[in-house]
């Protein structure tokens, strides 16, 4: 629904809905961002046969002061926020990091000329959290 809201066509009530939106869904908050690369950019395509492209994605954005259930953050995250604000600002604020991943299958040529298909764990970020 959030996506739909963002892309809603411009209507006269656009400004109003946009105004309210910023309270409902604050901007620049922690979220998953697309990032796609091709192994030929890294000059790895000589030995990585498949996939040609890889979308690792990444997490970026601010972590709100009160991290509620939206990010599935543990209570510790809020405690860390309080430490940062009230006790010791050298303690970093909670960061926006990946919370879940999906695997990636890779077909590579080994140095001895054999070919290996292998499934690697945690290669694509699918969800972000604050902690």
């Amino acid at each position: 629904r959030a996506e739909n809201l963002k892309e809603a066509p411009a209507t006269p009530s656009h400004n109003l809905s946009k105004y309210f939106n910023q309270f409902l869904f604050p901007q620049n908050e922690c979220e998953l961002h697309n990032f796609r690369l091709s192994f030929s950019q890294l000059k790895w395509d000589k030995w990585i046969i498949a996939p040609h492209r890889y979308s690792p994605q990444y997490c970026k954005g601010d972590c709100p002061r009160v991290v509620g259930h939206r990010y599935g953050s543990p209570v510790h995250t809020m405690v860390q926020n309080i430490i940062y604000e009230k006790l010791d600002s050298s303690v970093p604020k909670p960061s926006c990091v990946p919370a879940e991943y999906s695997p990636l299958s890779v077909l590579t040529i080994e140095p001895d000329g054999s070919i290996v298909y292998k499934e690697y764990e945690d290669m694509i970020a699918t969800k972000c959290t604050c902690r």
Binding site: I49, A50, D112, Y117, K118
Partner: protein
């Protein structure tokens, strides 16, 4: 170099410490690692090795790799498509037990022709497979000898082939063609119809060898092919001069290392969080070699039932 000696970067992913930007010091460090770890590091999958060698700028200048044959590449690309989606994510089908498949081409072969000894076309070849790349954490699920038949050969009727395998021990007298010192008789009969690839399941044959960490597998493969149904009179001459390319060796493995994807973990995880979308229409790949033979409709119906 003095510049980098004091600064050792500890690599969190593999828990190893590597000095950046200096191969010589890296090798020096490697030599300090316990022997088991050194071997593990050297065998770290190339993808992770690159990621863990953060300071390694000139990765391209690494020693040139041996290039596999086009047939082997074609077969593995086809396997990749069957096992992973377009985005490269492993397909989530339950019978898909392996998370690693390795294809080895023989690194040396020694051909013997005994045409006048037996009926039909006999291909007796000694093959040496070097399995050094298989790590201790990669456990064998299934091994297959992979024959590819020239499609240019007119396969109008079935061809029945017998395959005899025996293990060879390397004796010092001859470097390339060792004599047969002990043999485990193993014979199979398979039919070649329209299929371009024929997989000969040799799991029971190779399991004891690989389990004892044998990495150089030397085997004599003796293939006799007859045209048509062996029961009736077979015309032997015309299809006999079929070129048999020496087989590759295919190993289906389950890698238990941390970096490898463990399907069962994620399935269990998904069962706990039903919100994960389930893939409904993925083709089933049977790691025991029944590829393509199963009726996926039947499977789906039974699953729905």
């Amino acid at each position: 170099s003095p510049r980098s000696r004091g600064r050792v970067v500890s690599d969190k992913t593999s828990g190893l410490s590597v000095a950046p930007e200096d191969n010589a010091s890296e090798l020096h460090l490697l030599s300090q690692l316990p022997k088991g770890m050194r071997r593990g590091y050297a065998l770290l999958p190339p993808l992770l090795k690159v990621l863990s060698d953060r300071g390694h700028q000139n990765w391209e200048s690494e020693a040139p790799r041996l290039q596999p044959g086009s047939r082997a590449l074609r077969y593995m690309k086809r396997l990749y498509k069957m096992s992973a989606t377009k985005e490269g994510i492993p397909k989530a089908n339950k019978s898909h037990l392996y998370n690693t498949v390795r294809l080895f081409t023989p690194c040396s072969e020694c051909k013997h022709h005994h045409r006048d000894l037996m009926k039909g076309d006999v291909h007796l070849v000694d093959l040496l497979f070097n399995l050094d790349r298989v790590t201790a954490l990669e456990h064998l699920l299934k091994s297959v000898l992979l024959y590819s038949f020239d499609t240019s050969v007119p396969i109008s009727s079935s061809i029945t082939c017998m395959c005899h395998l025996s293990v060879k021990e390397h004796d010092s007298s001859s470097q390339v063609c060792p004599s047969l010192s002990h043999s485990i008789p193993f014979s199979l009969q398979f039919e070649v119809r329209k299929r371009k690839w024929v997989e000969i399941d040799v799991t029971s044959f190779l399991q004891p060898l690989i389990a004892t960490n044998r990495r150089n597998i030397h085997m004599a493969v003796n293939v006799t092919c007859l045209m048509g149904d062996p029961q009736q009179n077979t015309k032997l001459e015309n299809a006999i001069n079929m070129a048999l390319v020496p087989p590759s060796l295919l190993l289906y493995l389950n890698d238990t290392s941390e970096q490898a994807y463990h399907r069962w973990n994620s399935l269990r995880h998904r069962r706990k969080n039903p919100v994960w979308p389930r893939q409904r229409n993925s083709p089933l790949v049977d790691p025991t070699g029944g590829k393509g033979k199963e009726n996926s409709q039947g499977k789906r119906a039974s699953r729905q039932r």
